[in-house]
Structures are given as C-alpha cells and as structure tokens.
C-alpha cells in the first residue's frame, strides 16, 4: 500500500499538469461554447429561414456526431482545407461546437419556460424586440438554464479526456504515457480516475443540491 502511495506521490505532479490542461481546454470550450449556444438558441427560434436552417444544421451535427469524431475532424481534417491548428486550438474549437449545440437546447428550454405574458407585457410597455430580450426574457430564461448548464460543464470536463486522441497532453494522455513508461497502467489510471472523481462527485452533488433549492420555489 505504501509502495502504491509512493508511486502516486512520484507521478502526481505530472498528472496535475495534465489536469490543468484538461481544466483549461474545458474552460475555453465553455467560454466560447455557451455564448454560441445562446446565439444558436435564438437563431433556431428566428422567423428568417436562412439563420434558422444554419443554426439547425450546426446543432444537429454538434449533437449527432460523436465528440471524438468532431475532435479528429478539427485536428486531422481541417489541415486538408488549409487550416492547421494546434491540438489545444482544435480541441477548443471542437468542444466549443459540441458545447454550443448541447447548450443551445438547454438555453432554448429555459427561454421557453418564460411565460408568454412576459413578452406581451414587454411589447405593451413599448420595449423594442432587442430590449425585451435583454431586460425581460433573458434574465428570467437564463436563470432556469443555470443548473443544467453547470451539469453540462461537469460532462465537458469528462469529455475533455477524449483529447487524448489528438495528442493534447491532458490528464488521460499523461496517465497513459506514465503507464507505458512504468508498465503500471492500473495504478496510474486509478489515480487519474480518482482525480476526476474528486472534482466531479462533489460538483455533481452541488448541482443536484442547487436544483433542489431552486425547485423548492418553482411551484
């Protein structure tokens, strides 16, 4: 047992470096993807055909294709079209696309939860469409979307592990490299799994507590 702890202590810094990359790529993807999700949610509801069609296609591909394929498409595929990105940039791009597609559905559900009377009241007091959206609809709709957006963020940290496939030195890549150097896959993967669990289990419990608290006053 103490031998295992020594082994873990020796390699923990490398894994933490990997974890920092995982967290960074997740943060960048969420920072780009959630605003994209808001734009897509609004575009899908648009009355004009062109933005609606483009948004629908972007959402359906982002949700329908596996995240792994999106990652490989941006990393291995885009250079063929003359756009060679680093593994971090292509990971951020692919995961932001994925985030935008999934969060657009979460945000749309939040916007649809705003009672129709609010829109009528906004136009009755003479707010323009943009002001009604900014001051009336979004503040109420986004509040509903917050717990599921947190839940999705936890899933994105887990999805960042797929960046292993495009040689991004994140947590799983580090664990795999250490495993192949020391031939102690089980010990190092156990530690990598523990690091994910230490972050994701409390975060998941916090999100369900938040959902319960917000749900108390919903009815």
């Amino acid at each position: 047992m103490s031998e295992l702890l020594d082994f873990w202590w020796e390699w923990l810094p490398s894994l933490l470096n990997g974890l920092a990359v995982s967290v960074a790529v997740t943060a960048v993807s969420l920072a780009l993807g959630i605003p994209l999700g808001l734009i897509l949610a609004l575009a899908v509801q648009s009355k004009k055909t062109a933005p609606r069609t483009i948004a629908l296609v972007a959402v359906e591909i982002g949700r329908g294709a596996p995240a792994l394929i999106l990652l490989q498409f941006t990393y291995f595929g885009l250079p063929n079209a003359g756009l060679a990105l680093s593994s971090f940039a292509s990971a951020s791009l692919a995961l932001a696309w994925c985030t935008g597609a999934y969060t657009s559905e979460i945000i749309r559900a939040g916007l649809e939860a705003v009672p129709h009377g609010q829109k009528e009241a906004a136009s009755a007091i003479g707010l323009s469409g943009w002001d009604a959206l900014r001051y009336v609809i979004l503040p109420q709709g986004l509040r509903v979307s917050i717990p599921p957006l947190f839940g999705f963020s936890i899933l994105m940290l887990q999805a960042s592990s797929l960046c292993f496939a495009i040689a991004l030195p994140e947590l799983v890549s580090q664990a795999y490299i250490i495993g192949s150097n020391t031939f102690r896959y089980m010990s190092i993967l156990l530690l990598a799994g523990l690091l994910y669990a230490v972050i994701c289990i409390p975060a998941t419990m916090a999100v369900s507590a938040l959902e319960r608290r917000l749900g108390q006053h919903a009815h």
Partner: protein, 214 residues
C-alpha cells in the same frame, strides 16, 4: 474516392452496433439490481448504490476503458478490446439506467402500488403485471435517448482498438490523407444510424401509449 472511403468506414458499422447493443443489454440488466439497491431498507446498501452510481458517472468512459483494457488486461487476465469496451460501457450504462429506472418509478402513481396490495397480488405479479409494464413505458423515451448517446460514446472504444466506425475512420484517414472527407463521412454515418433508432423508439412509444389510451 468517396465511395472507397465510405466502404472502408462502413466496415466498422457492425462492430459499432454490436458494441452498443451488448453494452445496452448489460446496462439494462445490471441497472435493475442497482436501482433496487437504492430503495433498500438498509441505509448502508442505499449509500453503496448511490456511491457506485456517482462513481461510474463521474469518471470519463475513456478512463474506465483504459483501466479495464490496460489495467486488468496487462497481466491479470486476457481480454479482447471488444470485451473491455463492452464491460466498461456496460457498467457506465448500468449506472445511468439505474437512474432512468428510478425516475420512471417515481413517475408511477402510488395508487398503482396500493391497488396491487389491495388486490392481494403476489410480489411477483405486483411487479410483472402492474408496475413493470408501466415502468417500461415511462422509461422508454429516456432509455432510447441514452441508447443514442451510447452509440456515439462507443466511438471511444476506437482508442483501445475495437474496429468500429471511428477506428476505421482513423485508419482510412492515415492511409488516404483525405482526413476532411473521412471524418465528415464518419460523423454523418453516426447521425444516419441514430435517425432510425430515434424513430423506432418514437414508434414503440406511440404503440405502448395507444394500448393504455382511454
């Protein structure tokens, strides 16, 4: 050229479908005792079930697959990539199915249990004839959504060498250098497979609903 690529990638379809089906069957079966444990009269069992479900869902699938394939596979016992992927995805599915069953149980009206008790049905009949059929109907839409998610998650098994769609796509792109087309085709293929899955689930849902419609 496109036809060649399509043909090469399509060789992975049976493996993708087989892996999704096997993981789903394992998960749907193991999810039942896991869900039952959450309703146990002993708090230790309830805690164990919650801890297992939370752990399976909090560690990324790729870590489970590596853990089973490289961790167990190198030394302890000989397992093929397919077996490792089916076991890993099956366990994660079991945790998610347990939550889906729990949600469905909560949606069944308590009066159904009371009526089954009042009719003095045996526990077996109470479940098989009264609760089970309703549970199936309520759990089906979320189960189908999960199955489509699982189809996409099965792509992860390419990293341990299961020769499914993502694996074929990777090797085709390495061989032909037409990576852009290859991954676009692979992505569309996953979407094309999930479409009939979604409409089949909708069709079954409508059929099951029609049976109880008044």
């Amino acid at each position: 050229m496109t036809l060649d690529i399509l043909q090469a990638i399509a060789a992975g379809i049976p493996w993708t479908l087989a892996l999704t089906a096997v993981a789903l069957v394992i998960g749907a079966a193991l999810g039942q005792p896991l869900c039952a444990m959450r309703f146990s009269r002993w708090s230790a069992v309830r805690f164990l079930a919650s801890a297992l479900i939370l752990t399976f869902r909090s560690i990324p699938p790729i870590v489970w697959l590596f853990f089973i394939f490289f961790g167990f596979g190198s030394g302890y016992l000989q397992i093929s990539p397919f077996q490792a992927a089916a076991a890993g995805l099956g366990l994660i599915t079991a945790a998610n199915m347990a939550e889906i069953y729990r949600g469905a149980l909560a949606a069944i009206h308590p009066g159904q249990w009371e009526a089954a008790f009042a009719l003095n049905l045996l526990p077996r009949h109470r479940f098989l004839d009264v609760i089970g059929p309703q549970l199936l109907r309520v759990a089906l839409p979320s189960g189908a959504t999960y199955a489509i998610g699982l189809l996409k998650d099965s792509a992860i098994s390419s990293t341990i060498g299961v020769s499914e769609i993502a694996f074929q796509a990777y090797h085709t792109s390495q061989r032909t250098f037409h990576s852009l087309d290859v991954y676009a085709i692979a992505g569309l293929l996953y979407i094309l497979i999930s479409l009939p899955m979604a409409s089949l689930a909708r069709w079954i849902d409508i059929k099951l609903r029609a049976r109880v419609a008044r």
